[in-house]
Amino acid sequence: MAENNRAVLQLKEKYAASIIDVVEFRGEVTVTVRKDAIIDILSFLKQSLQYNLLTDLTAVDYMGKKEDRFMMVYLLYSISNKDRLRIKTSVSEADCHIPSATQVWRTANWLEREVFDLFGIVFDNHPDLRRILMTDDWEGHPLRKDYPLQGPDREPYKGRLS
């Protein structure tokens, strides 16, 4: 159960004030934390609990479904303990900033650039925050829910399911 997860026990002890929610679904533990403590928690997990591999870093757009529009997702893996942990933190549209995790893992560099490119979330203290997949002069952030699938300059084709 999620309460007995080794990381959850430690996090609850050390960062009790910053933890918003702990969920277990299909055997996967997700911990939602406050944005201001995210880097401290990630560093703690890496240094003290051997979550040495940042498997993935991404964002989810909950436009119109949640109070804070974006959710940042960090997926950690521990090569020595072979277990995963998902850390989430919400980012509001009005304050679309979050500290960069590049100082904790170098992997975060491109992954954060991709989130910046496709969602428009700005990473503070990122060494090289540029668009990565789209061209430099691209307008808009394609993975946002209000960005049309076929792009803003084209009439959506209505003849099929898309």
Binding site: T55, V73, I79, T107
Partner: protein, 390 residues
Amino acid sequence: MATTETMTLNMGPQHPSTHGVLRLVLELDGEVITKITPHIGYLHRGVEKLSEHRTYHQILPLTDRLDYLAPMSNNLGYILAVEKLMAVEVPERAETIRVIMTELTRLESHLVWIACHALDIGAMTVFIYAFREREAIMETYELISGARMTSNFFRVGGLSQDVPDEFVRKVSDFIDSMPGYLDQYEGLLTTNPIWLKRTIGNGVISAEDAIDFGITGPALRGSGVDWDLRRDNSYSGYEKYQFKVPVGENCDTFDRYKVRLIEMREACKIVRQGLDRLKPGPVLADNPQVCYPPKENVYNSIEGLIHHFKIASEGFPAPEGEVYQGVEAPKGELGFYIVSDGGNKPQRLRIRPPSFVNLQAIEKMAKGAMIADLVAVIGTLDIVLGEIDR
């Protein structure tokens, strides 16, 4: 007084040895690389966005085209993620065929890797040989799914159909002859002085750096980290198979080459074990909420036809929640992260591309080397742009 300055050289996106549409901007001091700036996104097709507009069954063909050298590995990762989300049990025969096919896919992907890697370094014969063997795997693909590359063979809950009778004999013949072919490649490369000079000591990355950069798969094992998802976080019944996980020592291109070659031999052994385990039985779970009905019902009964139509047009609603499933694809850890809001389409589908993350380490691996060595590093990273850009 003579002055010197560095030269900026553009490599790609149209270049024969960048393995697709990768573009690198190099800063050169003579022939020595002082800085590498990769530019990607030339094949960004918007798969993640498109997936948010497709039902769970309709997303499957998109995954074929991510890492187009290993289509079935992508299928497997996505299908396992959806099955985890829906809590579907898969029949044993389907699991076994999935393992056989993903291991054949690993062979196929590594064959193209060795072909291109050797061609980039100047060994043309291996390219011709490896494509000859790849053709046999393509024929197996065609036999079971009708398509040579974009197979789209797996389904949520099992397989699209059972394999034909000659499948076992065909795969068995191929697996018997494959080690001999691998000996041929090794005979051409492993003791070849040019190959050794080009690969030993090239593209070195330590285990700590590799983990810090998030490198996974054979590239990580070449740096001496003994970690394989198939063994350590087993999925699709891999825990029932016996195989070795090869690990390198010197963290260089030659070690990664050795690791991949041993992986190919191990893949042959896994396929052999899979063929031995293959028992008759159903290949699709009995779960009408999620799975397509059998084809004979669709063609012969009105209920079956309605059922098929409903699944094909509306899909199925998934419970609210989020799952991540990582599989050991030929390039590294391929992950699918699905966020469901309770509807029949995902709220978000994130693909964790191994090549994207691995490519990030290219500057670390090739800085201070010559341009020709950079080509070897691109080859050893085994990148596929379809997956990097998605």
